[in-house]
């Protein structure tokens, strides 16, 4: 579900569940976390998705089957852990979004230093309509975007396109075609990896300090999402996705 390789000092991580639009399972997030933390000597990291879209978010079928909410809890915890790991890594992280980054998939943007997307990619956090709180993403979004925009994006279930996300500062560079996104993300990562000395590493770590997301804040966001998990509203809304009641 996760594939990795190294090229020119860049760790390339691919979400590899293309037949499910790279929808995340707990074991997939465990593998992603291992991929991030197992390599501390790379100079840049690229995260991209195989298939037609970057990531459709959590695997909601798996969440629906587990009526006790444990799968949702594991996913929220795993997601927060991965975003924190991306942030803490000494190598700048370049994320390439082609097609769509939805809900938990969009939350991965919180760990990125640079986000490349195609103009028509669909991005957003439409999770309150299934009774899930996107609070887990809020500390990381607030550390990189204007507070007013963060409120709107987390509360409004609409998806926005790449062009709009660029104007809001969620995306930092646009490609005309989805097929260009991987190449451009890797090109940026290789450019960073080729720079001399420790300037990039020290700059990233300093920016983490200047715009800190403390463990306390990250945990507060995660806990706010976890507190809702497994309640009736979430169960009913998840079930209704598949025509169950």
């Amino acid at each position: 579900m996760i594939e990795t390789r190294e090229e020119s000092g860049v760790l390339i991580i691919e979400l590899a569940r293309a037949d499910k639009r790279n929808a995340m399972l707990p074991e997939m997030l465990d593998a992603l976390y291992s991929a991030i933390t197992s390599k501390d000597d790379v100079l840049a990291i690229t995260l991209i998705g195989q298939g037609k879209t970057f990531c459709a978010g959590f695997d909601l079928k798996a969440c629906t089957k587990d009526t006790g909410g444990d799968t949702m809890r594991e996913l929220l915890t795993g997601l927060s852990r991965c975003v924190c790991a991306f942030r803490a890594h000494t190598a700048p992280v370049v994320l390439g979004v082609h097609g769509a980054a939805v809900a938990g998939g969009c939350a991965l943007l919180g760990g990125a230093d640079i986000v490349v997307a195609d103009r028509n990619a669909k991005l957003g956090y439409p999770v309150v309509k299934i009774g899930v709180s996107p609070a887990v993403s809020s500390p990381f979004m607030l550390a990189s975007m204007r507070p007013g925009i963060v409120r709107t994006r987390l509360l409004d279930t609409d998806l926005i396109d790449g062009e709009h996300a660029y104007k809001l500062g969620m995306v930092h560079e646009l490609c005309d075609a989805p097929s260009d996104v991987h190449d451009r993300a890797l090109e940026i990562a290789k450019s960073i990896a080729s720079k001399p000395g420790s300037g990039c590493r020290e700059t990233k770590l300093w920016l983490n300090e200047v715009c800190a997301v403390s463990d306390e804040r990250a945990n507060a966001g995660l806990n706010a999402s976890l507190e809702l998990t497994g309640n009736d509203e979430e169960r009913e809304r998840l079930a209704s996705l598949w025509g169950e009641s």
Binding site: P92, I114, M145, P196, G197, E202, T203, L207, V210, C211
Partner: protein, 258 residues
């Protein structure tokens, strides 16, 4: 009424009614910040603080706004002074804090290249005006060095997300691109039109009540943490530490030989 206070030739200071204009005056070195330039800017800003003005415009003499730190001074093999980098960076950090704390509204009129610390200086100002053909950016990481000393101001100006992208990718952008990401607030179509636009903005700002302007600026400084001196001074130490590494010195030496 125009008043030209006595200042060193490193900077020119002109006071005209409510508007003071500080011109960095080292055009042969693209207004790069040496000890002399930084000392003169400190003195000029002290003088402006006590003046009866409500707007300060900062600009550069010649074709550039400011090319950043004087690389010859911080290249140890040239200067023979391993402590110069930290002294310059600390002096720059202190200057940014001093400019941010001015009661006057500050306007950077970016007439040409604003690079590294020079671009950081524009982020300290309340308003940045430039033209489509100017060159701005933070190429420090391209030289193996770290823009920590100015990073807090860049984050406050651009927001953390765009600041990360801009400082980690390095390179230089046009005035047009800088306007698109919010690094420049007002854009003249070309260099010739900059002076007129700067004058219009400065006069408009100066038409506001001086007490209202300074009270608003002070509150904005409090809200965004501008008075956190320790963060900026810590940034200067980090920049100096990275600058003194053999890798960074080698990259700088290589750049100087081009």
């Amino acid at each position: 009424m125009t008043n030209t206070p006595a200042t060193s030739s490193a900077v020119l200071l002109k006071i005209e009614d409510q508007v003071a204009t500080l011109t960095i005056n080292r055009p042969d070195a693209r207004n790069a910040m040496s000890v002399e330039i930084l000392d003169a800017m400190h003195d000029a800003v002290d003088e402006i603080k006590d003046s009866a003005t409500s707007v300060l415009v900062i600009t550069g003499a010649g074709r550039a706004f400011c090319a950043g730190m004087d690389l010859k001074a911080v290249l140890i093999e040239l200067s023979g002074d391993a402590g110069m980098g930290e002294r310059l960076l600390t002096r720059l950090a202190e200057l940014t804090l001093k400019i941010r704390g001015l009661p006057q509204v500050t306007v950077a009129s970016v007439n040409g290249a604003a690079v590294g610390g020079g671009c950081g200086l524009t982020c300290v100002c309340d308003v940045t005006i430039s033209h489509a053909d100017a060159k701005l950016g933070f190429p420090e990481v391209d030289l193996g060095i770290c823009p920590a000393v100015i990073a807090p101001w860049v984050v406050k100006k651009l927001g953390a997300g765009i600041a990360r992208r801009t400082m980690l990718m390095g390179g230089i952008m046009s005035g047009d691109q800088a306007y698109e990401i919010g690094l420049v607030d007002q854009l003249a179509p070309n260099r010739d039109a900059l002076a007129s636009l700067t004058n219009d903005v400065a006069q408009r700002l100066a038409s506001g009540g001086p007490k209202a302007l300074s009270a608003t600026k002070r509150l904005l400084n409090e809200l965004d943490g501008s008075f956190d001196e320790s963060l900026v001074l810590k940034g200067a130490k980090l920049s100096a530490s990275v600058l003194s590494t053999p890798e960074a010195q080698a990259a700088l030496a290589s750049r100087m030989k081009r």
